[in-house]
Symmetry: none
Subunit: 226 residues, 2 copies
């Protein structure tokens, strides 16, 4: 398991530092931003968790969360809200924007660490929860890293397997090449987006008649359709 990267967004600099220090002690890689604008400018898609202050200067944390959710590159990233207010309205609104948890200020460092750990564990569990992905005679077993076509083993390479798993786990959804690169390749690796094309071609050929279920939406990307 690679190190988790966490982005802390709060306009109180001292708070950012405290959180950064403590999270880094726990073994996370941490960056901080003191405004939503700054945070959005530093490639939020690279992080596996975002700690977000609700009350900030220009742009509120809620608004930023909305933007993150609207972009397919960042829509899946878990968000923990920090809020000083404990009015129900705020909380409810925040949760509907896809917050995965929230903490009310003032909070103890211990509390934050617990929430972070819990959210990361939960989302990690979700991603591996569906070990079996299938469509008719096509079965993916994520535990055994194996693909079966009508009960017959089909040797997929790692990349092919991961791409098919991604598409199959979100049947119907169209993923851009960029998103596929980000989710299947790690963030650090830089490859051309045409690489995705080539892997899709190889994948299509290997899964026989299900190849045509991997559809191309010109200008958008690829998806798995029934």
């Amino acid at each position: 398991m690679t190190k988790h990267r966490i982005l802390v967004v709060d306009d109180e600099e001292s708070l950012c530092e405290i959180l950064q220090f403590n999270l880094e002690v726990e073994g996370y890689e941490v960056d901080t931003a003191d405004s939503a604008e700054q945070a959005l400018a530093m490639n939020p898609e690279r992080y596996s968790l975002i700690l977000l202050d609700v009350m900030m200067g220009e742009m509120s944390g809620f608004h930023m969360a909305q933007l993150l959710r609207a972009d397919p590159k960042t829509a899946h990233i878990p968000i923990i809200f920090c809020t000083a207010k404990d009015s129900e309205d705020d909380t409810v609104a925040g949760l509907n924007l896809g917050a995965d948890d929230y903490i009310t200020k003032p909070f103890s460092v211990r509390e934050v660490l617990a929430r972070v750990k819990s959210v990361l564990r939960r989302t990690a569990a979700q991603e591996t929860a569906e070990d079996l992905l299938g469509f008719e005679g096509l079965q993916l077993d994520r535990l055994r890293k194996r693909c079966l076509l009508d009960g017959q083993k089909v040797p997929l390479t790692k990349k092919e397997f991961e791409i098919l798993a991604l598409l199959l786990a979100h049947r119907g959804v169209i993923f851009s090449r960029e998103t596929i690169l980000q989710r299947v390749w790690s963030d650090e690796v830089v490859v051309l987006d045409r690489t995705v094309d080539v892997n899709i071609t190889r994948l299509r050929r290997k899964i026989g008649r299900y190849g045509e279920h991997i559809v191309t939406r010109s200008g958008y990307g690829y998806g798995f359709e029934a």
Copy 2:
């Protein structure tokens, strides 16, 4: 959303009780059976999910799954297998019987809950499409980048899709060509505003009788009207 009913089939009574208790805490309605025969006798078609032990007395879980799949009344019900063995043969056979997931014993209660939730979400998600934009028999699915006319797929190009999405999202509003160019094309790209006309024409033709709902306001622009 009505409460989900879950049937737990396992010959270990204590295990049944533990699962029943925990699933009920999570808000599910749960019944248990200690044999495949008993389970089949209690109208399995009433359940939305079946948790099935592979190794049981007379009839194996696999065999029971086969029977469930053979009956159209129960063929659609998702099944999660519980198995102590992890031999390859068992798994392969299980997959072909249409298991939606499997868990190997010993398992934690947390793990079971996660799988149940995940499988139910997946099967439910297939029915309720998100991100839908529609007017009567005309549907736009933004995630799938797809347009349906009376349930029939209509192949729209990217530009056509984006324009229709814009108009449909703001029904009744008249957009100037300039605004449409700004929103659908990016700001950098420079094209003649007559280009919009042409794309509108192509779009109108493709969406059949709904073409006339895209109205022209001479001197102003275009909009979607009921």
